[in-house]
């Protein structure tokens, strides 16, 4: 089945997946920042749902979560941001990323329905592993929303099939055992992991955690179907606040350009 998400991963280059926290620095600023991601060349947008206790995130995204909540961002604002994005960008896939409690507070069916109405294509929930899929997965699948799963360096061969069961959209490979934005993985370990994952699934493999330079993005783009960049963009939003759209677009452009030619460079 062709979806917005599956179409976002072209055959000849990696897709660029870009993350920002919704409502950072405030809900009114986020639409322009999302537009800047698209203008800069992002293929998939990950919109972070702020949470008071982002235990898988490093300092940059933690601070973004707190800025957003301090500005008064509500779940309703995030859904409205998504709805507006879908209207302006009918073909660009949008994924919500966040933690279980804000997603399930009003019940999984409520959340899945709200996502569907807002034009959200997939959901990444950091703290619902496959063992607890019943808390959200069935509701998402019933509404045609892709439950995007994470694989990590600790996900071994015995466990991988379970992680892939019921997964959709793409597989997010967290390349380091750690929190977001801290250190980057050794390229060889990424190549080995992507090869291992590709042998087990037809889903596109997007690699993230610690990716910040065009060189890193290109190197990962040579082997993976997608490159995820988050903390580096969030740091630009932190620096420029309500005026972040321009600098975000320029930065994302450097990543997109590097990824666009990465595979030719490798062949040359």
């Amino acid at each position: 089945m062709t979806t917005r998400l599956s179409s976002a991963f072209p055959a000849d280059r990696a897709a660029l997946v870009c993350f920002v926290t919704a409502g950072d620095p405030d809900a009114a600023s986020t639409p322009a920042i999302l537009d800047a991601l698209v203008e800069g060349g992002a293929d998939v947008i990950e919109l972070g749902m702020p949470f008071t206790d982002p235990m898988a995130d490093g300092p940059a995204i933690q601070a973004a979560n707190l800025r957003s909540l301090a500005a008064g961002t509500k779940t309703a604002d995030i859904l409205q941001i998504a709805t507006g994005f879908r209207r302006r960008h009918p073909d660009v896939p949008l994924v919500l990323m966040g933690y279980a409690n804000p997603m399930t507070r009003r019940g999984p069916e409520w959340f899945a329905d709200a996502c569907a109405q807002a034009g959200v294509d997939g959901v990444i929930c950091v703290d619902i592993p496959v063992e607890e899929d019943a808390s959200l997965g069935p509701a998402l699948r019933a509404k045609g929303i892709a439950p995007i799963r994470l694989a990590t360096p600790t996900t071994d061969a015995a466990r991988l099939p379970a992680v892939l069961e019921g997964a959709g959209g793409f597989l997010y490979y967290v390349s380091v055992a750690g929190i977001t934005g801290k250190q980057q993985a050794v390229q060889a370990s990424i190549e080995e992991a992507v090869a291992r994952l590709k042998a087990s699934t037809d889903l596109p493999i997007a690699v993230g955690f610690g990716v910040r330079t065009p060189e890193q993005a290109a190197a990962i783009g040579r082997v993976a179907d997608g490159v995820v960049v988050g903390s580096a963009i969030v740091e630009i939003v932190s620096e420029y606040g309500a005026d972040a759209a321009g600098p975000v677009r320029d930065y994302v452009r450097t990543l997109a350009d590097a990824i666009a030619t990465a595979r030719q460079t490798a062949a040359a």
């Binding site: 206790d53 898988a56 933690q62 507070r105 703290d127 808390s135």
Partner: protein, 413 residues
């Protein structure tokens, strides 16, 4: 003597194979941690089946912690409360004296169990979170005892208000890292502990301090703390040849209460868990997750949480730093919904009165956590007949709290 194995319709055979207590509990952790959590469960099952593990645990509890802790009849407190009661009213009040343990609280029981498990798993580095510092001190203690490096995460706010315990941990060789993220209290310390764990999965064991977190932590912490209830049950039978009518214990995360309650769950014994009502349940300044919260997901488990309508976690407040956590162990959430345990809440002011009453009548300075249980006892004992027996858990001593109490009473130290 111990009670019999749980029957199929028992309250003592939770959780299920997936770590669920009814709809609560579970393993809500990031994928990086999931294989670790599964590995921990495997090793815990092996330890449970190994008589050598139990023998080592029992030996350390006896000779290092100082168990069994006494079972004590609080004669003058009983008489004091009878003075305000109807002529035939005023239950007998007994205490399980876990404040006499090494390090001054029940926390050490669990730390002994978990560090033995860590060493079985070949882990070489220990981390923990702490609020008031009691769990941090207990963890630092067992790390010193077994020569393992120890990192304690503690909210910067708590570091400032619990200096004596910070110094104790440092004396014991632990590194204390103040956590400045979020509200800089216990829940933020737990977030930081999880962040450390996820980045150091290969060599690090996380000693969680209460009966919460991802499965199997709620189960294994309960099991290690159940020594409290097993001893108390045997001591009651041997001293007066009967079981108590009512058990009372304070609840933050809920480990001392579960430790006392669990061995009695299938007996004809009522139970009362006491949450912290802070400035009162009618406002937001309390830490009563069961009475004032809603089910949600945080720190690896589904349970009752203090949260807003969007699922954002709200800050708990209590005079007792050990109780102001916005969640509660998942087994308590289940016991509440099943109606097996009754839950109530006690305000800061009531706890202060309970604290002073025990000092005056029994010559025991309790921690502010069990002061909440004592305050609940002062309410319920005068309504019960004189031949009834209340057993309350005196889960910690008050040395750490004298500065807080002095400040509240307007005394300069």
């Amino acid at each position: 003597m111990t009670n019999a194995a749980p029957k199929p319709n028992s309250y003592r055979n939770q959780p299920d194979a997936q770590g669920h207590f009814g709809p609560f509990g579970g393993r809500y952790v990031a994928e990086t941690l999931m294989p670790l959590v599964l590995d921990l469960e495997k090793h815990y099952r092996a330890a449970q089946a190994d008589p050598a593990f139990k023998a080592q645990f029992d030996d350390l509890l006896e000779h290092y912690v100082g168990r069994p802790s006494p079972l004590y009849y609080a004669e003058r407190l009983t008489e004091e409360l009878r003075m305000g009661a109807a002529p035939d009213k005023g239950a007998q009040i007994w205490f399980k004296r876990d404040e006499l343990n090494h390090t001054g609280a029940h926390k050490i029981n669990n730390c002994i169990g978990q560090i033995l498990l860590a060493m079985r798993m070949g882990k070489t580095r220990i981390i923990a979170e702490t609020g008031a510092g009691q769990h941090g001190v207990a963890t630092a203690t067992v790390c010193a005892r077994f020569g393992l490096p120890c990192v304690i995460y503690m909210g910067a706010t708590d570091v400032a208000r619990q200096q004596p315990n910070v110094f104790r941990m440092k004396l014991l060789g632990a590194e204390v890292i103040p956590v400045t993220s979020g509200a800089a209290t216990l829940k933020d310390a737990m977030n930081e502990g999880l962040r450390d764990w996820v980045a150091n999965v290969h060599d690090t064991f996380y000693i969680i301090g209460t009966a919460a977190g991802p499965h199997p932590y709620p189960e294994l912490v309960r099991d290690f703390q159940s020594v409290i209830g097993k001893e108390a049950r045997a001591q009651m039978l041997s001293r007066i040849n009967r079981l108590p009518d009512l058990l009372v214990a304070a609840i933050g995360g809920g480990s001392n209460a579960l430790g006392l309650f669990h061995p009695f769950l299938d007996d004809d014994v009522k139970m009362l868990g006491v949450e912290a009502a802070g400035y009162g349940l009618d406002g937001n300044e309390h830490a009563a997750s069961l009475l004032g919260g809603f089910p949600g997901i945080l720190h690896g488990n589904k349970t009752y949480l203090l949260q807003d309508e969007d699922g954002q976690i709200t800050e708990g407040h209590s005079i007792s730093a050990g109780l102001d956590y916005p969640g509660i162990g998942p087994e308590h959430a289940w016991l509440k919904d099943m109606g097996r345990v009754e839950y109530t809440a006690i305000t800061d002011d009531e706890a202060l009165e309970g604290f002073q009453l025990l000092c005056r009548t029994e010559g025991i300075i309790p921690a502010l956590e069990p002061a909440h249980a004592i305050a609940a006892v002062t309410k319920v004992a005068p309504t019960m007949d004189r031949d009834r027996i209340i057993l309350a858990n005196l889960c910690g001593r008050g040395d750490k709290d004298i500065f807080t109490v002095a400040e509240k009473l307007g005394v300069e130290m």
